[in-house]
Point group: C2
Chain length 350, copies 2
C-alpha cells in the first residue's frame, strides 16, 4: 500500500516555512482557525485566550507532546493524520474524564525547510479532529533544528463532582470497554512493515484505526452526566497497563474474561495471517482510545438502559473489579497467561 | 564570569533518565510538585486535571514552546534558570491580561542521556517561579533524540470583562511601562560574549535579569481589578515591536518620549563600555517582561493614587496614544530615529 506522507512531491516550487517567516505562518494559522465564539471570549492574537466557564462546571485540562522520530515518523504519517491524531489523543483524555472538549492550544516546532503545504495539511487534520464544537484558541510556532515537535493542550468542562476518575473503582463493579481493542496496534505493525495483510480493505481499515483514532466523547459524557460511572481511563498505553492504572489508583484488582473483549474481524484476520496470538494486540497494543470504565452493581440495570437509549451499542461487559490486587485473566473459564509484557516505556526502549 | 550549567560535573556516576525510565521520572516529578489543593480539585496522575473556577471569573490560558539550540543552549543556561524562565515568561503573559496564575502544565522532552540531577534542578526552578500560589497540575515527559524541549501551558483567572487586551488602546490614553527595559538584552549580549563588562556585580545583575525575569503579576492584577487600564502587553519581542502589537490591534498610533523610558544604571554602563547606543537594548532587545499599558484621561488621577497605594513605584509614564497609526519617537522634543529594526523572527533568522 502506498501512503501519502510528508514532502511527497519533490518539486522545487514548494514554499518553505523559512520563506514565509514566523508572522506569515502565524497569520496563515490564525486565518485557518477563525474567530473566537462563545464560550470562548478571546482566541488567538493576545497574550492569553479567555474562556467563560459555565456555572457548576469544573475545568478539565490535559496535555501531550509528540516528537518526530519518537512518536511518529514523517515517512509513515501523512501531516493531515498527524494533525488529526495529535488532537484526538487529547480529546480522548478528556472523554476519559467525562468532559466535553472546548479549547485546544496547539504548539508546533518546525524545521526551517518544512513545507508550508505540510503545515497547512497538519492544521486541516487538527480542525477535522476538533469538529464544530472545539476551538483552536492559541499555541506557539517555533523553529526546531531537528524535525517536527507538537505539543497540544486541551481544555474541557465537566459537571462539578461528576468527573470519571481512575481512583473510583470499587470491588463488585462491572468492568466495561467502549469499543474494539487491537486495531491500532495491528495497523502500526502494517505501517512499520512488521506484518503483511493481503486484503487491501483490511489493511486500510487497520491503518486508519491507528492514524485517525475516534475519541469516545459521547460515551464519556453520557457516563458522567448520567452518574452511572465514576471511573474511566482511555486505552493509550495498552489495555492491561491502563486497567492496571485503574487498579493501582483504586487499590483493587480485576478479573477479566478475555473472550468477552471486543475485537474486529479485520484485526483477527491480520493476526492469523501473521501468526500473532489473537489477544496480543488487544491486550498489550495500546493507542486504541476506547474507554475502560466501571459501573457499580446498583447501576447495572440503568447502564443497560443507557446503552439502548444513547445507542452506545459497541460497549461490552468484560469482567469485574475485585478486592485482591492484580489482574486475573481467564479464557473460557480457564486461567489465561499474557502473551508478553504490555506497554511502552519512552526512555527504556531507546 | 563562570556560570554553572548543564552537565557541569563530568563524573560517570550521575544517573541518566534512560536508567530511571519514564515511570521513575514521572514519579520523581509528581513527588516534587506535591498534591493538589484548592481551587485545583485533581492534579497530576489522571487523564486530565480538574480546576474549580471562581464565580464571575474567566479562564485565561497561554502557552509557549522552548527548543534547545533555538531558545536556549545548555552551555549558557543552568537548568534551574531554564525551569524558572520557562514558567516566568508564561506567568508574564497572564500578568499582561491582568490574570492571576493558578495552574501550570509543564511538558518536557529529554534526550536519553540527560541527567536526572539536571531534570531535578529544572523542576526546582519551575517551582521557584510558581511560588506558593501556583500549582503544577500536569504535563508530559517524553524522549527527544536531539536535545531538550519544553512546553508550558498556564491557566489563570481574571474577573469577567476586566482582562487587559491589546485591542483596547484609545487615542488620548497615556502610555506607561511597569519597569526598566534593556537589562535582559544587555545580559544576553554578555552571556553570548558579544559584550564585556568589567564590574562583576553589573554583569551578574544583567545576566540575572535575562535568566530570571520577574513577571509583573501584581501590576497586572492591580490594573485589571481597579479597572484603571483596559490594555496591556508584556515586553517579550522588544518594546517597539510589542507597542506595535497594541497599535495594530487597537488601530491607533503612539508618541513615545524616549528619554522617559526607564533604564537601569547597570544597562547604561554596559552600553557605554561596549559602544552600544543607550536606547538600542531598551527599544529593540526584548525579554524584559515589563508591562506596557495604557490609561484613559479620566483615570489618570486615580492611576497616580494606585501607584502610591499599591507601591507600584517602578511605573513610568512614557508617552501617549494618538489617532495616526505608527510609532513616533522623540528625545528631548526632537524626532528620534530607531537604532535598527527590533524583534526576533524565529524562522527568518536561521
Amino acid at each position: 500500500m502506498r501512503h501519502s506522507s510528508f514532502g511527497r512531491f519533490e518539486g522545487k516550487g514548494f514554499m518553505k516555512v523559512s520563506e514565509l517567516g514566523e508572522f506569515g505562518l502565524i497569520e496563515m494559522i490564525a486565518r485557518r482557525v477563525g474567530k473566537a465564539r462563545e464560550p470562548v471570549v478571546l482566541g488567538v492574537g493576545d497574550d492569553a485566550s479567555l474562556l467563560q466557564p459555565s456555572p457548576g462546571r469544573q475545568i478539565a485540562t490535559t496535555t501531550d507532546m509528540l516528537v518526530e522520530g519518537v512518536h511518529f515518523t514523517r515517512e509513515h504519517m501523512p501531516p493531515q493524520d498527524l494533525g488529526f491524531k495529535s488532537l484526538a489523543v487529547n480529546i480522548s483524555d478528556l472523554a476519559a474524564m467525562g468532559a466535553e472538549p472546548i479549547q485546544a492550544f496547539v504548539s508546533i516546532g518546525l524545521p526551517p525547510d518544512a513545507r508550508v503545504e505540510d503545515v497547512d495539511l497538519f492544521y486541516s487534520g487538527v480542525l477535522d479532529a476538533a469538529g464544530p464544537a472545539m476551538q483552536i484558541s492559541g499555541g506557539d510556532t517555533v523553529s526546531s533544528p531537528h524535525g517536527w515537535i507538537i505539543s497540544v493542550t486541551l481544555i474541557g468542562q465537566v459537571a462539578a463532582g461528576k468527573a470519571l476518575r481512575r481512583d473510583s473503582a470499587r470491588p463488585g463493579d462491572t468492568v466495561f470497554v467502549s469499543g474494539p481493542l487491537g486495531d491500532s496496534a495491528a495497523g502500526l505493525a502494517l505501517i512499520l512493515g512488521k506484518s503483511i495483510v493481503k486484503n487491501r480493505g483490511t489493511a486500510e481499515f487497520l491503518i486508519h484505526s491507528h492514524n485517525r483514532p475516534q475519541p469516545q466523547t459521547a460515551v464519556g459524557i453520557a457516563l458522567s452526566s448520567s452518574g452511572l460511572s465514576a471511573c474511566a481511563i482511555d486505552v493509550s498505553d495498552g489495555f492491561l497497563q491502563d486497567l492496571g492504572h485503574i487498579c493501582e489508583s483504586s487499590r483493587v484488582g480485576a478479573k477479566i474474561e478475555a473472550e468477552l473483549i471486543p475485537i474486529s474481524p479485520q484485526m483477527v484476520s491480520a493476526a492469523r495471517e501473521n501468526g500473532v496470538e489473537t489477544l496480543f494486540w488487544p491486550l498489550t497494543g495500546g493507542e486504541d482510545y476506547s474507554l475502560i470504565f466501571t459501573v457499580s452493581r446498583d447501576n447495572k440495570r440503568n447502564m443497560e438502559e443507557l446503552v439502548v437509549s444513547e445507542g452506545l451499542t459497541a460497549i461490552c461487559r468484560i469482567g469485574e473489579i475485585v478486592e485482591e490486587e492484580g489482574i486475573e485473566l481467564s479464557r473460557g473459564k480457564k486461567p489465561y497467561t499474557l502473551p508478553r509484557d504490555g506497554g511502552y516505556d519512552h526512555f527504556r526502549h531507546e
